[in-house]
């Protein structure tokens, strides 16, 4: 396998396997709580069902609402171009692409919020307000994480941070790096609206955060949004996997295997968290995110020493 092709292959693999990650999480949760649960490819079936349906637009909605699925998916796929999914290099890399990564993800969130506000539904407005509040906190904490990684590798691009140098630095700075990885996992749960911040399976609009914002989308539009959130989860899972376990020095085929392993493992971890703890009260969520920030800040301090 040529070295140049692996980033592209890894990207294709991630895009294909993305719907599997929420499925693995749901299955783990079901098994741990003593149920059989839906098959892990449930989301593929859901997407297939949704894509064959027609779209219903509410009469009050305007153009931003119709743009949501397209822009959200495009932004998230664009963000995934910057992540070294294959464990060594990303499809695109330039100094400072961390900032681009965080804000293209934020762009996806921004259009979702715009669409939610466009419907004029009070529930969706409430969900949007919560989503933005927590996202603002997560952004700060996420940058603390990346600052720590940038300090340890002296790199400003994601593929530098999670690439070859990191593997060497794990030998010398393991405690600090494991703090950063733990912080990143906490933030991943918040960023992807999983338990304990949000419950993806809730059926009560009042308690929803992410789910309530997409109540008015239907058919293929809803399918695209669901797929986009699955990709967001998978890309962050792959990034976390590469930071917690840098594989840059392995053969290309092994690195692709490590990518699949990271996706499945993070899915299982998310499922374990969902099965073992209830979601937090909304007022407690900032404290949870601050915990993630404190872990990364502590890691950063250790690395700056």
């Amino acid at each position: 396998m040529p070295e140049r092709a692996t980033p592209v292959l890894a990207l294709i693999l991630t895009l294909l396997l993305a719907p599997l990650v929420p499925g693995v999480a749901a299955r783990t949760r079901a098994v741990l709580t003593g149920r059989r649960g839906s098959p892990i490819w449930q989301l593929y079936a859901d997407l297939w069902k949704l894509f064959r349906r027609g779209i219903v637009y509410a009469r009050v909605t305007t153009i931003p609402f119709r743009l949501v699925p397209v822009v959200a998916l495009a932004a998230i796929v664009a963000a995934s171009l910057l992540v070294p999914l294959d464990g060594r290099t990303s499809v695109f890399a330039f100094p400072g692409d961390v900032v681009a990564f965080v804000y293209t993800l934020a762009l996806a969130r921004f259009v979702l919020v715009l669409g939610a506000l466009d419907t004029g539904s009070s529930f969706e407005g409430m969900g949007a307000s919560r989503e933005v509040t927590f996202a603002a906190l997560v952004e700060f904490a996420l940058f603390l994480c990346f600052a720590a990684l940038s300090v340890v590798t002296h790199q400003l691009s994601l593929s530098g941070m999670a690439g070859v140098t990191l593997a060497d630095r794990w030998m010398t700075a393991a405690p600090a790096l494991s703090l950063v990885a733990a912080g990143l996992f906490i933030l991943l749960l918040a960023e992807c609206s999983r338990s304990p911040v949000d419950d993806p399976t809730t059926h009560l609009e009042l308690t929803m955060i992410h789910e309530v914002m997409i109540l008015d989308h239907s058919g293929p539009d809803l399918g695209v949004i669901l797929y986009a959130s699955a990709v967001r989860l998978s890309v962050l899972a792959a990034l976390l996997g590469r930071i917690a376990w840098p594989v840059a020095k392995l053969a290309p085929a092994l690195r692709l295997a490590a990518l699949v392993a990271a996706l499945v493992l993070v899915g299982v971890l998310v499922g374990i968290v969902e099965a073992s703890m209830a979601r937090l009260k909304l007022a407690k969520v900032p404290l949870y995110i601050a915990g993630g920030a404190a872990l990364s800040a502590f890691g950063l301090v250790l690395l700056l020493r």
Binding site: P286, L287, A290, G291, A294, L295, A297, V301, L302, R305
Partner: protein, 219 residues
């Protein structure tokens, strides 16, 4: 035992964060007990040739800090029937962030302390011992001054003392065994008295908010 030191110190710092961020007193006390146990293991780990002295010190620390004092605090909590710290002076979010700040400050200060040459005494493991000791001390102080319930304040006092204990570990081998044991005993007695005070405050005011004590009047 040497490679154990760094993870243990990090775990101590994480228990600080946990105490700063939680509102449940049982969780606070559990974290304190864990911190005590970690200190016990640590005092055995820092001494390079394993000696009877260090093992006795570690065992004593675990007995007092991880078993005795938490048991006593749980007793006081049961007597006073309180479970939660309701209104801290500073919110949990703010105290957690202050805790992170305190860690940063401790690392900055520790690198400038005179006489703390890396490789000397117990400060050898990357100089992590002194900054974590300072961070524990300051976090304890933070808990002590920002919580309103007497029991959480005792937890803060004990964290502060744990910080001092950590600091003392840099001199292990030079401080005599008797002094350490004396300190442990002092703390035990102090907490014992505090427990009794808590009990009386509770009986007098039906709550253990230390804010009830600001007014001075004759009985």
């Amino acid at each position: 035992m040497r490679p154990l030191i760094e993870p243990i110190l990090l775990a101590v710092a994480l228990t600080n964060f946990a105490v700063l961020g939680t509102s449940r007193m049982t969780a606070c006390v559990r974290m304190l007990a864990m911190q005590g146990a970690l200190l016990g293991v640590l005092s055995i780990a820092v001494e390079r040739p394993l000696s009877v002295h260090s093992i006795a010190l570690g065992a004593g620390t675990v007995a007092v800090k991880a078993l005795g004092l938490p048991w006593f605090l749980r007793w006081a909590m049961r007597e006073a029937a309180v479970r939660r710290e309701v209104e801290p002076v500073i919110g949990y979010m703010a105290s957690l962030l202050l805790g992170a700040l305190v860690v940063g400050v401790s690392f900055a200060v520790a690198s400038r302390l005179p006489g703390m040459v890396p490789g000397q005494g117990g400060s050898a493991p990357g100089g992590l011992l002194v900054p974590i000791a300072l961070a524990t001390l300051l976090s304890g102080l933070l808990v002590l001054i920002t919580r309103s319930k007497a029991i959480t304040q005792v937890v803060g006092y004990l964290m502060l003392e744990n910080g001092i204990y950590l600091f003392g570990l840099t001199l292990v081998g030079r401080i005599s065994f008797l002094v350490e044991i004396g300190v442990l005993l002092d703390v035990f007695v102090a907490v014992f008295i505090m427990g009794i005070v808590v009990f009386h405050i509770n009986r007098e005011f039906d709550s253990i908010s230390a804010e009830n004590l600001v007014e001075l009047r004759e009985a």
